[in-house]
């Protein structure tokens, strides 16, 4: 791999980026430079679009069919009432949690390397939370009444049940999505101003100009911007933890074996960060290759992300062990049969895949050589994402399919619509991300300028 950052300076940028202008040129080129970035450069982008657009179509077709024909299309049955939609929801919101958490945590801990990844990690958050929000609606028997979750004056004089985890979920997703949009947009305003000032075509200039709101980079405006942005980061960290804890409580607030565990909220938060960092690795590798950002997203970035992934994998391992231990230690028969079912039942092979992807495979990242190899990092990231998806689906399949009443034990068999909507949701994510990369700076320019000037100075 090429660009190595200057190790003596403890740098996060390759030495060829030595001024503000170099940063601007590199990041703005894909967006504004028609000469340098002709059709050739965007060929890969169009090819991915060719995959993303049909998949998006498939997703919306699936959602349309489910909404019009009903959830009988899915593999959900009277025992396993949650099935794919809720597993997909938890998986997507987990990925979505990481972007804002990464960005905010690294800002508060003054990790300057966040500058290279925060912008697209936040975009990743937005898209995945938006996708996640669709799934709980389509798993409802009567999706047309989903708005009953909101309190509003109605002739039935009904009110939401505030003790319900589903109602908590509604407020958590809605708040988190809007919060993330505000956080992301605020971070983008100065970059939009830069693009406004660099654009040569009048229309592009106006477009970026309108969204930049007339930001003038004045000391006063910067002070206000930074004060707001940092306070948002302080709020984001507890918000993200609470959002995914609430997702964990959707399960833990029940009395089902395998769900009713106090470890669920923190274990879900770690799982979310884990899958989010895995997605960040994949996106960072793509952006770095496609937009030639080797100087900004350096090997050292992958190295630190690799360390975080291996640490999270260990915490996941401890969490699983805690689950097994508490199930055994409870002395309850339902818990024991549940645990035996997890390891030996219908879905035991998937449980093995989950443990391999989430706990065993990432252990290779203890080795520096593995962290320095991009293909290994991407491979581990893909395994983590697969492992995390299996974790989510198995939480649902195993517990719902094997609870206290043996007469209700059933297995879940996915239908074609289950698969189509899952794969389609990946297409929607890809489409949104491709548009983001094409229209907005994938790496924060103003933070990179600061980093470049600071690192190049003795």
């Amino acid at each position: 791999m090429s660009a190595a950052p200057n190790p003596e300076a403890g740098g996060w940028i390759a030495p060829d980026i030595d001024s503000c202008e170099a940063v601007n040129r590199l990041i703005a080129a894909p967006l504004l430079d028609r000469q340098g970035w002709g059709r050739q450069q965007w060929r890969g982008w169009w090819m991915l679009m060719g995959i993303a657009i049909p998949l998006t179509g498939v997703f919306f077709l699936g959602v349309y069919m489910i909404l019009t024909k009903g959830i009988g299309l899915l593999g959900n049955n009277t025992t396993i009432v949650w099935g794919f939609p809720i597993a997909n929801y938890v998986w997507w919101i987990g990925i979505g949690n990481a972007g804002t958490l990464i960005s905010a945590l690294l800002l508060l801990t003054r990790q300057t390397w966040r500058a290279a990844i925060n912008s697209f990690a936040e975009a990743m958050t937005l898209f995945s939370v938006a996708i996640a929000g669709i799934f709980p609606i389509i798993h409802l028997g009567r999706p047309m009444f989903f708005y009953w979750l909101a309190p509003y004056p109605n002739p039935m004089t009904l009110w939401p049940q505030w003790r319900s985890a589903l109602v908590w979920d509604f407020w958590a997703i809605a708040s988190y999505l809007i919060f993330s949009i505000v956080f992301w947009y605020t971070g983008l305003i100065p970059d939009l101003a830069t693009l406004r000032d660099r654009a040569t075509k009048p229309f592009t200039r106006k477009l970026y100009g309108v969204f930049a709101l007339g930001f003038r980079n004045s000391a006063r405006q910067w002070a206000i911007h930074q004060s707001f942005y940092k306070t948002m980061a302080c709020l984001a960290v507890p918000l993200v933890c609470s959002v995914h804890s609430i997702v964990g409580m959707d399960f833990a607030a029940s009395v089902m074996p395998g769900w009713q565990e106090s470890i669920f909220p923190p274990y879900f938060v770690v799982g979310a960060m884990f899958s989010g960092f895995a997605m960040v690795v994949i996106l960072a590798a793509l952006i770095r290759k496609a937009l030639h950002f080797q100087s900004l997203i350096t090997d050292r970035h992958f190295d630190v992300i690799g360390k975080i992934i291996v640490a999270s994998a260990c915490i996941m391992g401890v969490s699983y062990a805690t689950e097994w231990f508490t199930a055994w230690y409870s002395g309850e028969r339902a818990q024991h049969t549940y645990l035996a079912y997890v390891f030996t039942g219908t879905y035991a092979p998937f449980y093995a895949i989950m443990l391999f992807g989430n706990v065993i495979a990432p252990q290779v990242l203890w080795f520096k050589r593995a962290r320095a190899s991009l293909p290994t990092m991407v491979m581990v990231a893909v395994l983590v994402l697969i492992g995390m998806w299996f974790e989510r689906i198995l939480i649902i399949w195993n517990t719902l399919g094997h609870d206290y009443l043996p007469a209700l034990w059933r297995a879940f068999w996915p239908t074609i619509w289950d698969y189509l909507v899952l794969v389609g949701s990946l297409g929607v994510f890809l489409l949104a991300f491709l548009l983001f990369v094409r229209l907005l700076p994938s790496v924060s320019m103003f933070e990179m300028r600061e980093l470049a000037l600071r690192e190049r100075r003795p």
Binding site: C20, P151, F179, P190, L213, F215, A223, I224, M232
Partner: protein
């Protein structure tokens, strides 16, 4: 209409030095324009603290109170519902949605406060008339000081800016 001298520097240090000098010589500092936020610059220019976190706290707390009041009212007065003998006012479960919505409200309050205090959106500003002002969002560190009326003082101010390492100086109408 007042006039200002807009001077550009290639790095943040000469700008900070010039701000200090300008304060010592009591030149009228207007504002500085930089490609990235510089800690302490706003204070050095004599600007007040932004107070935004206080607005956010206020917004968040107000919403928390309102939202909890709504939960209490709906669950105990308007639609009392005995769920397994739990108290009608089950505050530990009511807190969950309250926290989420109050954080969101704090964020939205802060966003509005940011726009109002920063005078945004304002798509046009006299400074944008100056072509070179575009560099402030890219790679140069600009300082605006009030242009003295008196020709001799104006000359001295310009000289001070050049001495501090200005790359260019322009007079702009504000």
């Amino acid at each position: 209409m007042s006039h200002a001298l807009l001077a550009a520097f290639a790095a943040p240090e000469p700008l900070m030095r010039m701000v200090q000098q300008a304060r010592d010589k009591s030149l009228g500092l207007i504002d500085a324009f930089t490609p990235y936020p510089i800690e302490g610059l706003s204070e050095a220019l004599g600007q007040k603290p932004t107070q935004i976190p206080w607005w956010m706290l206020g917004g968040g707390v107000a919403m928390a109170v309102l939202f909890y009041a709504m939960e209490w009212l709906s669950a105990t007065r308007l639609y009392p519902f005995d769920q397994g003998g739990r108290p009608l006012n089950s505050w530990p479960t009511f807190i969950v949605a309250t926290v989420e919505i109050s954080v969101l409200t704090a964020a939205l309050t802060g966003f509005v406060a940011m726009l109002v205090k920063a005078g945004l959106p304002r798509l046009h500003h006299p400074l944008f008339e100056c072509g070179a002002f575009e560099r402030a969002s890219q790679d140069q560190f600009l300082l605006a000081i009030a242009a003295p009326e008196d020709a001799q003082a104006a000359g001295a101010a310009r000289q001070a800016l050049w001495d501090a390492g200005a790359v260019w100086i322009e007079e702009v109408a504000l």
